[in-house]
Subunit: 115 residues, 2 copies
Amino acid sequence: MNLSPGQLDLLFQALGDPTRRAILERLARGPATVTELAAPFDMALPSFLGHVRKLETSGLVETAKHGRSRTVTLVPGAFTPVRSWLDEQRALWEGRLDRFDAYVQTLMQEKRDEP
Amino acid sequence: MNLSPGQLDLLFQALGDPTRRAILERLARGPATVTELAAPFDMALPSFLGHVRKLETSGLVETAKHGRSRTVTLVPGAFTPVRSWLDEQRALWEGRLDRFDAYVQTLMQEKRDEP
């Protein structure tokens, strides 16, 4: 994974907004035009386009112009850096619990070995 | 999971910063005082405390005062809402691929059945 510095920042920041997450949830079902995507939202088009642009900058979606409409598509594997970071945190955390467990086992063994 | 509205926003926003992610990576190895946490960062203490406060507001960490120092602890399971949302996206995406696969199978079957 060739992750540019700040890419993880952009990804998490893009996900920190309910409109942008709703757009991604819709796109997980398949590509859509900007007009289709905007329909459920009571929002001025420029604001809505700002959200789409933020998703595009983060690398989560791609857009392409077809005639007079613009189609938005989810980028396959775009969530991978986010998942990888979370998996690393879990591994660190579980490693810590394993070490704690081993420590408790050692204490208990010492207790049993006491005369 | 009792998730208040906006909680997912706060979580993703908290994760969208390299200093805050570094703090979480450190805390995955065990609790630390604010002084210990701040040591690796070339940052004024008020700015650093702002990051700790943002992590606390999002529910990712807890802080407790012990004498003159403040200990910061990772909250177990705090990443769960983030993971759940990502898992939902993956399920939607895979459901879509399965449906596409079934559609292609149907097309191929129809092709074979042609006289």
